[in-house]
Amino acid sequence: MNLIEITGVNKFFGGLQALKDAHIKVAPGQIVGLIGPNGAGKTSFFNVMTGLYPADSGQFSLNGKPYNPSAPNEVLRAGIARTFQNIRLFKDMTVLENVMVGRHARTRSGVLQTILKTPFQQREEKSILEYSYRLLQYVGIENQADQLAKNLSYGAQRRLEIARALATEPLLLALDEPAAGMNQTEKNELKELLKKICGDGTTILMIEHDVRLVMGICSEITVLDEGRVIANGIPELVRKNPAVIEAYLGPTHHE
């Protein structure tokens, strides 16, 4: 059974059709890549999948159960956590606090419990703190826990965004260009981190432009072009697929 199965997604922006019957399947425990030329609709697909934009049509199912991507917070609760192409951290909060916000959806102390400082609320606060700190250790930025998020280096900000997403205990981690703007060393470190996350049981779906990175860690790749899925399968086959080559390099002209 697939962890996530999305079929028949259509999305219009006015007269422009950004997604045409787009679909994707991700088996549990895999790292799956979503690639395609600029403007192919990758981020639109992510936004529809995570409830940021309403889909015009489509069937969505997560872990065997249908889910309705009506609001981002609902989708997150269902088990899909995402990062953003242009990093969206809570800049003026500390690194640790950023991850602690990620625990919100998995904790439940209410106003009254907070005001009365009940034992349950205090235990929960303590567990939020510990869980978040462990995640910072997990992604390797715990020594910057007290820094403001905006003061982190680019690579560390990407890691923090991943830690914040992991704090929500997702079934599927959806990464929108996690390696954008990273140098080769950072990319290699990111690769190791993603492998570790996947090895620890979180399935990953990632949009990525760096072909070497995608080919290196993804077990399966789906290619979008002009809002349509033009290929999917294991990296070796996708690489040789004529439709993919044409989408990236333009149609070949025969004299």
């Binding site: 951290l89 500390t94 106003v111 907070t114």
Partner: protein
Amino acid sequence: MNLKDNKTLQLIALAVFAGFAPWLCIMFGGNYWVRVIDFALLYVFLALGLNVVVGFAGLLDLGYIAFYAVGAYCAGLLASPHLATSFSYIKDAFPMGLHTSYLIILPLAAYIAAFFGVLLGTPTLKLRGDYLAIVTLGFGEIIRIFLNNLDRPLNLTNGPKGINGIDAVQSFGISFNKQLNIAGFDVPAVVLNYYLFLILVIMVIIVCARLQNSRIGRAWVAIREDEVAAQAMGLNTRNLKLLAFAIGASFGGVSGALFASFQGFISPESFSLSESIVILAMVVLGGMGHIPGVILGGVLLAIFPEFLRAILVPLQNLIFGHVVVDAEIIRQFLYGCALILVIRFRPNGLWPQVRVAK
């Protein structure tokens, strides 16, 4: 460890000072100055409430005084002869007029104001910044205009004439409008009110601090920082924003009821836009989102104008032999200058938040 002891010591010193403040005022200036610090406490109360909305959740609210008005009129209607004089059937039921206990009025004022907070919050959920400010400003004016005109066809609020004869708080065997004799020692009514307000302000401070250092407080800040990311992290931004509006408004409601009980008289002109702006100035000047800063802002802006009023006339008499410029004008002028200077040199407020995780 040492730092913690130091902090406890500071807190004790502050508590002792707050406890003796009204007596110092009586020693150096009389009951007038106790009234001034009573009002300062009410303003601190309001500023702390507005801070939940503006400081924590980042929702610019320019109509906050409306909740103060709602609370004040809640007390005014339920604890004065007004309703009984204008409605005969209420007079039949309560020939002496309504005199509800403040133990009921205060929670009720909080509840009704919170309801109005949600009422304001619901249609404005998608608005931010300037747009939200304009709508909230309009809301504040609507409430005031309603209060001004609800004397016809049914005389509900007595219009611009306001409501008179509002009961003082009478609870725990203490009447807060009479001086109290404790073991041969006279405590004036203004001082009694001071302690009542102080206790309630301390309670509000505790509530604010606990909320701030909780998952709810962090969620508010996250919404302030980046609403899209906050929602993508599973925060129900709609409910959290409404919660901020409701909690902020409920503080406004309670302080409004206290104001009504303290004054004994309320009228719509106490709830003008300029009051909203003064409270917002307290929050911004003190340090948005930082509880000690907001308290400082509230105390300073409430006392500073009174202080100027008191010294400007004697000062001019001393220098020029007569009053050259009306004290009120100088007061406004210096007030404006002070605000500009603070914004120029301390844009984050006099005592801003230093964010360090524990």
